[in-house]
Amino acid sequence: MVQKDAQRLALFLLLMPFALWILLLIVLPHLGIGYLSIREKIGPRQYEFGPGNYIDFISEPIYWNTLLRTATMSVLVTVLTLFIGFPVAYYIAKVAGRRSRAGLFLLCLIPLWVSDLVRAFGWIVLLRETGVVSGFLQWTGLVSGPVEFLYNDAAVVIGLIYTVVLFMIVPIVSTLDGMDDALIEAGYNLGGSRWTVLRRIVIPYAMPGIVAGCIVVFMLTAGSYLTPILLGGKNSMWFTEQIYDQFITRYNWESGATFGVVLLAFTSFVVWLGLKLTGQNLANTVAKG
């Protein structure tokens, strides 16, 4: 009896930080934001409940256009990251020797040692008008004057891919790591070409990792703030920027909260749609990954 109680206490204490985290940092803020978002301001210190904030959001094209643009760009970044990350992950898990594998993995982690801000600044140093790339092109004579590579969508996409590619590589490496090399050899042995083996054996096997990576990358990208602002400048039109504006610049917390809820709902919807379209489900992914 005593032992059972002790076990229960241990379990309780172990779960405590987790429960506190969920409650205080996830549930409570979301409840607060949800509450704020359905509160309409009708005068100084005068509020009433209603869907007014959401109606405002829908009736103002620039808001939902920004949201759609953010989602589209995030999907683009996710797809490009997958195309870049998958070969790297495949190389680390299946081609590289046992010894070099750890080293390569470590190399992938190095960018994480530097803060987001410094990484974005790195790109600014490279891409700005007086930057390294522009200077090099002028030096080779390919262009006559300085060129501005920053503050366009391409710069934002490149910067975002660089920030998130690791989160694509890690889950794919871990699923491919568990794959018996004999499966690939059997694929060839039974007459499959490189392409067939990749399409019918390697990718289906790596699917849980791919899905997990895509979800993480998409969510991180859609919710990122620093990179789009620093590399895209005033025109980046990222939805998180809108939220920031509402909260900080315009001090319109109700509207900002509404945007937050909309962003969460919309990105969740995109993830759900992605899972449906690829015929995967979340339980499968988490259980296998």
Binding site: Y188, L190, G191
Partner: protein, 365 residues
Amino acid sequence: MTDSRSPDLECLSLTKRFGAFTAVDDVSFEIPSGSFFSILGPSGCGKTTLMRMIAGFEEPASGDIRIKGKSVIGTPPNRRNVKMVFQHLALFPMMNVAENIAYGLRCRGADKAEITRRVGDVLERIGLPGVETKQIHQLSGGQKQRIAIARCMVLEPDVLLLDEPLGALDLKLRERMKIELKLLQHQFDTTFVYITHDQSEALVMSDRVAVMNAGRFEQIGTPQELYHAPATAFVAGFVGDSSRFSGRVEAGGTILLETGERITAAPRTGTVLPAGTTVDVFVRPDAVAARRPAELSGDAFNRIDGVLDSHLFNGAQSRALVRTGDGRMIEVGYPRPGSSENLAPGEAVALTFTPADTLCFAKKA
């Protein structure tokens, strides 16, 4: 198929090196069409490397591999009509049974109706009709085995390679699968090349067995030849159980054992052991009879004296354990005519065996 006498698979002076290590060293053999051929050897002897070269996953350093008379050097694995059953079977876990079997047919571009028909056919032949829609993890070990074979056989390969596929099964199932594999080979009438370190698997299933050691073939022959007339000491020691003695050849051809007994061995064709050669002598347990010294009649036998230590009862494979003069334990087949059954532990016994059953090899320097 044009010439039924031409071998399905031929290897000529095949050699493979990994750095300074020679994994396969000048191996030559040919396998007649439709036979069951085993390559038997301890782990690390190069048999897996040899098989991977035949399948095309490794390039030989020198030598040639011919399938149906045509060299396949430089042909990628997916273009060779050699299929392989992997050690852990390598069934594709994300596909069901029918998709696994259809994979190779789809790679060849067969149409849907034909695929369905042939998948049904092959499942019928391996005795598992109607399992098309089952997932791989729903199958038992023996069923997986048969699906892995069906997946290859549906492509009608010239040669089927099997890389110790019974290794992961439990003992009972392994015994049953041995027989089943042999029957399947008869049924499909395809050349099987079976790789194993388990001598009983090789002996039971094969038409011919190659014994491999340290990258070389020690002997190729029928299971009977390997067992009764091993060509080298390694084969004698590796194939089947045997008791081993050391000795020296004396003038006149008799052998003086370290235990002090003097025995004779029937000469093997083509070998003459001059006097003074140190030799290894092998005797099979089932060739040895343990008798009470008083019951011996005549002296045509080789004889070693000892004391019965204990009985090792194991059904048909029961043995008696006899301690010789120098304290060594020898296993003796049991029961034998003039049976050791009524011998009691502690009794003095004479172990007798014929010179023909005495296998004698010069010890390597």
